[in-house]
């Protein structure tokens, strides 16, 4: 039954026009970034290297497919949660708003299975978005710009990673980025179990992300104790794969915290949805 309903959920997602909004927006954004970088990438990079260039000269292809893919990833990871929440925030509340939840919940499928199948479908959608982001950014930017060493600007300086040492970093970075986006998807599905309209959970998800991000970036000691536990703090941990050496300990910590969030949020959703009287 779980598999059958997951299949159903997948059909619903695939048939909803808004599901393609995310993919379309992503494609457009990547197109715009690649166009901009093609037109003015050199000067953008020299803005980064400027302070070093008085004493050092950078040789080789600084603007290349790897750098562009990295820039795309860095720019879009902030915005993709909205595209994800647009679909996942609607998964439960959308059925309530449409009235189909009555039909669904009066079928011989347990509420737990309904919720889990929605999570699985939401996770698949998130995966598709992440893969689309990955394929499009890596592939297109490599086609347009060619390959090369990756120069990454971290807050503690420049890291230049040899070309042969990059692909696995992108691979793992996409995995961790997927995990952070999955946390967003889970959050919005959880909120969706509490609402009877689809806008609420979407807006609430974004509001939570924005608030947590602001708390995370405020340099106030009151928040120091909670910062490490905010999922938003760990949403950028994919980036750590581009440090040298890779801080695997920190990344593992982030993964554990993100997974904890996912498990907790699924738990809350199951608890809420199993006890929910369907009156809509």
């Amino acid at each position: 039954m779980l598999f059958k309903n997951t299949y159903n959920e997948f059909i619903k997602i695939v048939s909803k026009p808004r599901s393609y909004l995310g993919l379309g927006a992503l494609t457009l954004l990547i197109g715009i970034i690649i166009f901009a970088m093609k037109a003015d990438g050199e000067s953008m990079v020299s803005f980064v290297t400027a302070s070093f260039e008085q004493t050092l000269s950078f040789n080789g292809k600084l603007v290349n497919g790897n750098l562009i893919a990295f820039i795309i990833l860095q720019m879009l990871v902030v915005h993709i949660p909205l595209l994800i929440a647009l679909v996942t925030g609607d998964l439960i509340s959308g059925e309530a708003a449409m009235g189909t939840i009555r039909m669904l919940a009066s079928k011989p499928i347990s509420r737990t299975q309904i919720v889990l199948s929605k999570f699985i479908a939401g996770a698949i959608y998130t995966l598709v978005i992440t893969l689309w982001l990955g394929i499009l950014s890596l592939l297109v930017s490599h086609v347009v710009f060619g390959t090369g060493d990756l120069m990454v600007l971290n807050s503690d300086g420049l890291v230049i990673l040899p070309e042969a040492d990059i692909l696995w970093r992108f691979g793992l970075a996409f995995c961790v980025a997927f995990l952070s986006l999955l946390t967003v998807a889970t959050l919005s599905i959880c909120l969706s179990a509490f609402a009877e309209n689809s806008i609420g959970p979407i807006v609430a998800t974004m509001a939570i992300i924005i608030i947590f991000t602001i708390i995370g970036s405020l340099d106030v000691s009151v928040f120091d104790s909670i910062k490490p536990y905010l999922f938003t703090t760990h949403m950028a941990s994919w980036r750590s794969f581009f440090e040298n050496p890779v801080p695997f300990g920190e990344i593992m910590n982030s993964i554990v915290i993100l997974l904890t969030h996912i498990v907790l949020l699924v738990g809350i959703t199951l608890f809420k949805f199993n006890r929910k009287d369907i009156t809509s």
Binding site: M98, M103, L104, I109, S110, T279
Partner: protein, 304 residues
């Protein structure tokens, strides 16, 4: 031969906050019944039906379907029920066929594509199978809803206000469909409505519910054919007729409705005599019509 009990609801209660939606409701539906669940809007019909479908968990009381506790055998029971609650809602962005496929997939039974198309034909939507539900009229959705309830060949069909919002033609269609289900497929049907006429036309048993309480339960026939009936008579010289009836039949109640009409409450058996005597006495009768007792009863019951 003892009839098999399909639904047995005992002392069902449910509160939403401080509002008691259902209070101590009990009723029994037997196999093959078209059971009317009658009550005005807001009487607690929907809440009770939602409890039957485990959409709402009751605060107290027991629900047994097919002689099994709903709580303990939820999936098994729901697999044998087809239902429309309030109005049939579908995934608007999907076609009629896709919608049925989705619901069939989780209905607990294996339903083939062919059966789905046949079902669409059965409810008269065969040529709309590929159309998105978005463009469907309320009547079409209602028919699609019925198709959805029948897909997995359930024994019990629960229809919550199935004719609400339909045009007269649509109402007749649905009514005929329900009768066919009973007669041809021997389904047990629970039908809720706030319209007596509807229940009266198709139900054989019923319960009347008001303000969350079940007031009376029984055979529609019995309730209809109770001893006393109100007869409306359209007649010349109403006053004289009233005097004549009073002296000859001594009815429980008699009243003048208009200058040409009177209503008299009288034992049903005496209606032929009443007609005969009036004619013999030289009154000109334009019309004589026993009024639907149940309607009277319904209005009285929910007013008391």
């Amino acid at each position: 031969m003892e009839q098999q009990t399909i639904i047995k609801v005992q002392n069902l209660s449910k509160k939403f906050g401080s509002f008691e939606a259902v209070k101590d409701v009990s009723f029994t539906v037997n196999k093959g019944d078209v059971f009317g669940f009658l009550g005005p809007n807001g009487a607690g019909k929907s809440t009770t039906i939602r409890c039957l479908l485990s959409l709402i968990s009751p605060d107290s009381g027991t629900i047994e379907l097919f002689d099994k506790s709903l709580q303990k055998n939820r999936s098994q029971i729901l697999a044998n029920i087809g239902s429309i609650i309030e109005k049939p809602d579908f995934y608007k962005y999907l076609s009629a066929q896709k919608n049925l496929e989705i619901f069939a997939r989780i209905s607990g039974a294996t339903v083939s594509k062919k059966e789905i198309l046949e079902m669409l034909d059965f409810v008269g939507l065969g040529d709309r199978a590929k159309h998105k539900v978005k463009g469907f009229s309320h009547g079409m959705k209602q028919r699609l809803g019925i198709a959805q309830t029948l897909l997995h060949k359930p024994e019990l069909i629960i229809l919550d206000e199935p004719t609400t919002g339909l045009d007269p033609q649509g109402i007749i269609e649905i009514r005929n469909l329900i009768l066919r289900l009973k007669n041809e497929q021997n389904k047990t049907i629970l039908l809720s409505s706030h319209q007596l006429s509807e229940i009266e036309l198709i139900a054989n048993r019923m319960v009347i519910i008001n303000q969350g309480r079940s007031l009376v339960e029984g055979s529609v026939e019995e309730l209809l054919n109770s001893e006393e009936t109100v007869v409306r008579i359209e007649i010349d010289s109403v006053e004289a007729a009233i005097q004549f009836i009073q002296s000859k039949f001594n009815p429980q109640e008699i009243s003048q409705i208009s200058s040409k009409e009177l209503e008299v409450l009288i034992s049903k058996k005496r209606v032929p005599d009443l007609t005969k005597e009036l004619v013999l006495a030289g009154f000109t009768i334009h019309a004589i019509e026993p009024k639907r007792k149940l309607e009277d009863y319904f209005i009285k019951t929910i007013q008391s």
